[in-house]
């Protein structure tokens, strides 16, 4: 009886913690380019109480991964497993970009399983599939989770980005407008999250060919990138974002801005191919400090 009350109490505590966190002033604070963790780590009160929200959102994020793969649990492969040529995740349909580098299944494939009959039984009783060129369940099943994640933690930038990607690349139907709607909500909650701006710019540029809207988002993203130190940026992603912006200027025929942003971009990302192409295209010499790095 006591134990049952303890379990019930724990459930109530989590619910109350979530509500209390919503009332704390820190919850209204905007995170930096990295997302909510920066906000929640500032004060002990938010770390303890508010942590529930990020934990819940993180749990739901992991669950969404599981939903897409029909319950098949994945994890990063160890170096030894990669050396043993373990099967690594690759995609067989349009839902991409949600696996980190070198993920394998928690339940190993028969060729790599030393447990014999025990492994065979586990592969029968637990969800298992060959993850090479694997397909996914309908993304719409996971979408409600992204809705709940962002309710629970409105500063969960990755959830907005991933959720929009799933809406966009759903197995049954694609819906770019809905994806952009979801991203707009994320941008409103996280104006400093350049990742969301870059995503919105990408959908507008590559899918909808709305160059003016794409530029608006890319300019906002570039502004954040310029203000953010290297240590707080995903440099590869930031470089790609900047390069995409230069390409939009090129496509829209705005030569002046294209060159100006390519020059500024090379100052920060000397290896950026789109920026270098701009200089080559117009027969301009590369800035001296960049040319030296080639």
């Amino acid at each position: 009886m006591k134990l049952a009350f303890i379990i019930g109490g724990a459930v109530l505590l989590v619910a109350m913690g979530t509500m209390v966190m919503g009332a704390l002033p820190e919850a209204m604070k905007q995170p930096s380019a990295q997302g909510s963790q920066d906000v929640f780590e500032e004060k002990p009160t938010t770390s303890v109480v508010g942590g529930f929200r990020t934990t819940l959102a993180g749990y739901l994020f992991a669950k969404s991964h599981e939903y897409l793969h029909g319950g098949v649990v994945m994890r990063p492969a160890t170096q030894a497993e990669i050396a043993q040529e373990a099967r690594l995740a690759s995609h067989g349909d349009q839902i991409k970009d949600h696996h980190g580098g070198g993920e394998t299944t928690g339940v190993p494939e028969p060729q790599r399983d030393v447990r014999g009959i025990w492994g065979t039984v586990e592969r029968q009783t637990q969800p298992f599939m060959d993850i090479r060129h694997h397909g996914h369940r309908d993304a719409s099943e996971a979408l409600p989770l992204f809705r709940m994640m962002t309710w629970s933690d409105p500063h969960f930038v990755e959830a907005y980005s991933m959720g929009a990607h799933l809406v966009f690349s759903g197995v049954k139907e694609r819906n770019v407008e809905k994806a952009l709607e979801f991203l707009d909500e994320g941008i409103a909650n996280n104006p400093e999250a350049y990742v969301l701006r870059a995503d919105a710019g990408g959908y507008n540029f590559y899918n909808l060919k709305r160059l003016d809207k794409a530029l608006e988002h890319y300019r906002a993203a570039a502004s954040v990138i310029e203000r953010t130190p290297d240590s707080k940026l995903d440099m590869l992603h930031a470089e790609q974002t900047w390069g995409a912006m230069v390409q939009v200027y090129r496509r829209s025929g705005d030569k002046e801005n294209e060159i100006a942003f390519a020059r500024r971009g090379l100052g920060r990302f000397p290896t950026s191919a789109p920026c270098r192409v701009t200089f080559r295209r117009y027969g301009l010499p590369l800035p001296a400090e960049v040319a030296a790095k080639k």
């Binding site: 009886m1 134990l3 049952a4 009350f5 379990i7 019930g8 459930v11 669950k63 939903y67 029909g70 319950g71 160890t78 030894a80 497993e81 043993q84 928690g106 339940v107 190993p108 790599r112 399983d113 030393v114 447990r115 014999g116 009959i117 025990w118 492994g119 065979t120 039984v121 586990e122 029968q124 009783t125 637990q126 969800p127 369940r137 719409s140 099943e141 979408l143 409600p144 989770l145 809705r147 709940m148």
Partner: protein, 277 residues
């Protein structure tokens, strides 16, 4: 523990002491007593209400405009059933013998013509049946709530029920063994840890095992003794609407489940037979 005199005081106990019919009578008497005790303790009612609340709670998101939550609600329902039934199972199994000792009701029991093995087997069957009854009640509540919310469950659900019931045999045998080797609290803690971490333990083994070490046959034999509780759990397949599994793994688990349960029970008995009460 109140057991009727007719069951435990046969007229010719020397003849009946080791007989199957006698053992069956003992098991039945202990089972009835254990079921009554579980119903009297009211733990189960709280867990049933909590399960229903958790499922309805997860479904309540639909009232706020989030649709398409079928998988999420099903996940919550069967996760709750799995966790709560495991907790009940461990608590029921862990208290069978230690409580008889602490209440000193073990003396009148052992004064009757019952061997210690029969006592232990009777307690094991009682715990197992009680676990199954509690689990089926929780599963029924979850199923009814899912039915009420219009969420379908595939036929693999029946295989899930069957394998879970077999798995509770392992759980009861293992926990009872632990409760005879250590204190009741320690047995509950370790059993819960090993049951909840069952899949993690076996996967960690697979992750770190070096296949070039050449001890595979030993591994396969020894693996039977690992905490394989998760092997009996089809929860995820039920949640994600997988097709029913083939007969061979079910038959394998049926053939493995009972012997391994009795193995753990025998290990506990080796300690209990010489234990001074």
């Amino acid at each position: 523990m109140n057991l009727d005199t007719a069951t435990l005081n046969p007229s010719n106990h020397a003849r009946k002491q080791g007989g199957l019919a006698r053992t069956w009578q003992i098991c039945r008497a202990f089972t009835q007593a254990s079921l009554l005790e579980t119903l009297r303790r009211k733990d189960l009612y709280v867990l049933v209400v909590l399960t229903a609340l958790m499922v309805f709670g997860s479904y309540s998101f639909t009232f706020f405009g989030v649709s398409g939550l079928e998988i999420f609600v099903k996940d919550m329902a069967f996760t709750a059933v799995g966790i709560f039934s495991t907790i009940v199972g461990v608590l029921v199994a862990a208290r069978q013998v230690p409580e008889e000792l602490s209440r000193r009701t073990i003396y009148p029991l052992l004064a009757r013509p019952i061997t210690r093995w029969q006592l232990l087997l009777g307690k094991f069957v009682a715990a197992w049946v009680t676990c199954i009854v509690c689990f089926l009640m929780l599963a029924l509540v979850a199923r009814l709530v899912l039915l009420a919310t219009g969420i379908p469950v595939q036929p693999i659900f029946w295989q899930y029920l069957l394998l879970k019931c077999v798995g509770f045999g392992w759980l009861c045998g293992f926990t009872m063994c632990l409760s005879l080797l250590m204190s009741q609290g320690a047995a509950v803690t370790i059993a819960l840890l090993l049951c909840s971490g069952s899949a993690v333990i076996t996967r960690a083994f697979v992750m770190f095992y070096d296949p070039t070490s050449g001890i595979n046959p030993l591994i396969n034999a020894g693996y039977a003794l690992a905490p394989n509780y998760a092997l009996f759990d089809l929860t995820k397949k039920v949640v994600y609407d997988w097709k029913p599994i083939s007969a061979s793994p079910i038959l394998f688990l049926l053939a493995y489940g009972l012997p391994i349960s009795l193995f753990w029970l025998s290990l506990g008995w080796m300690r209990f037979r010489k234990q001074a009460v």
